[in-house]
Amino acid sequence: MSAENARRVLLSEWTKIRSVRSTLWTLVTAIVVTVALGMLISGLIGHNFDDLSPHERMTFDPTFISFAGTSLGQLALIAFGILVVSNEYSTGMIRASLTAVPVRGVLMAAKLAVAAALALVVGMVTSFLAFFLGQSVLGEHSTDIGQPGVLRAVFGGGLYMGLIALFAMGAAWTLRSPMLSFGILIPFFFLISGILANVPATEKVGHYLPDQAGSRVMRVMDDGEQPYGPWAGLLIMTIWVVGALLAGYAVLRKRDA
């Protein structure tokens, strides 16, 4: 495929994304929820810092606290990833898309590239906003971007959000139906993964779930619970993402549209 061909398909996918309002709203929601919730929790902790136990004060991670909204805000990015892909199936648009771009890998790659780039930009904006606004309300307990590991955590937070959206897209190419995708992904990332990573019986395995491993990069202080470092954690998440995308591609290639 020529570069000119790739440019056209990318442009077409960009038109598709920007012309559906509901999809764009998920991105706005992701920013607002993550930043606002992060500020709220940072503010509460900043005010009640003296109530924390000595151990909690020792391991206090002002960077990670400002990302407290991620657990909820990421759901909006997951929704974005699901909608971008599964709406093609639920509306029948996939038939128009595949008659226009019949080489399925090309269609998928272009959609992923555009949607992931957008999610990454939104993720970065969210992450930096959450950090700076979170620090501003933490007051005397705040840190700054120049401290060791902080820039890595903030930048990593943006990558995390881009990756979680990509994972959702891979899952949606595999599952196709929006109901099924939402029904599986939202409860999983909102509840199940957190439970698995914190219940003693399953925590060893739970640490290797995509969001658990990926969010390690947002911590500056190592609490010693996860058996890998920040970049290794992000790599584990990336492996999950690649797996989901390969599964999605296999389904797209094999099944009737």
């Binding site: 056209r8 398909v9 442009l11 077409s12 996918e13 038109t15 598709k16 012309s19 559906v20 309002r21 509901s22 709406n87 093609e88 509306t91 029948g92 648009m93 996939i94 038939r95 128009a96 595949l98 008659t99 226009a100 771009v101 019949p102 080489v103 094999k254 009737d256 549209a257």
Partner: protein, 303 residues
Amino acid sequence: MIELAGLTKRYGRTTAVQDLTFSVRPGVVTGFLGPNGSGKSTTMRMILGLDHPSAGQVRIDGRRYHQLADPLTHIGALLEAKAVHPGRTAYHHLLCLAQSNDIPLRRIDDVLDLVGLAGVAKKRPKGFSLGMGQRLGIASALLGDPRILMFDEPVNGLDPEGIQWIRNLMKRLAAEGRTVFVSSHLMSEMALTADHLIVIGQGRLLADTSMARFIEENARTFVRVRSPDHERLRAALERAGGRPRQCPDGSLEIEDLPAARVGELAAENDVVLHELSHQQASLEEAFMRLTHESVEYHARAGR
């Protein structure tokens, strides 16, 4: 030109399309006729590479669908099921299709004008009526100014004026030398538009013939006559060399005597007539006979 060779599609244990081999030629409207569930839509989806054939293949101007560069400029299709995002305006729907196939953007306004949707270009199709949705699908098919057009039941949801419009559109496209392939389950509709006819039943090819030939072979004409004394009438007709057939409603059908002769015979024999009419069996009946036989045959063969 669309060429199918041994095209077959199985869904689990049901065979939707079986060993279809035919060509759709340019310059004429080719009707694709079959009762509900006979495999028309499945065949069309396979032509577009949306469904993978279980066996056989399709060529579009000699190439496989995915080998076409900018396929929308070669073949445009209106499918049975909606293929539009209801939250994306008509204009943006056409824009994303045009961009992917390097179609000049002025074509968007041209086709919206042509199908009569210029006024709602900036509206989202979720508020469109069935007919407007259908028109947007037709606009998508025409967007790339393709030499081959395929319409799956295009008159669905259109009002009489819309039906007239699509008929004329298809004829005009064919007159411009394009290949036009249109499906329907109504013979009467096809008789008005199609020059060539492909009939399938239960996924199998039943007829591949010109419309004129089909009419000639199947449009049976006969005389219907009704009388309170049909025994005497029948005897008179038989003496004159006719072979009247008794109908369940008590009337007689005669194929080998003209209406005038039947009237004369009745008068000569002093038989009172309650009806004397010239009849033409509808093409619809011919079509039903053709497909019904296939259904029966397969039901028995399946045992």
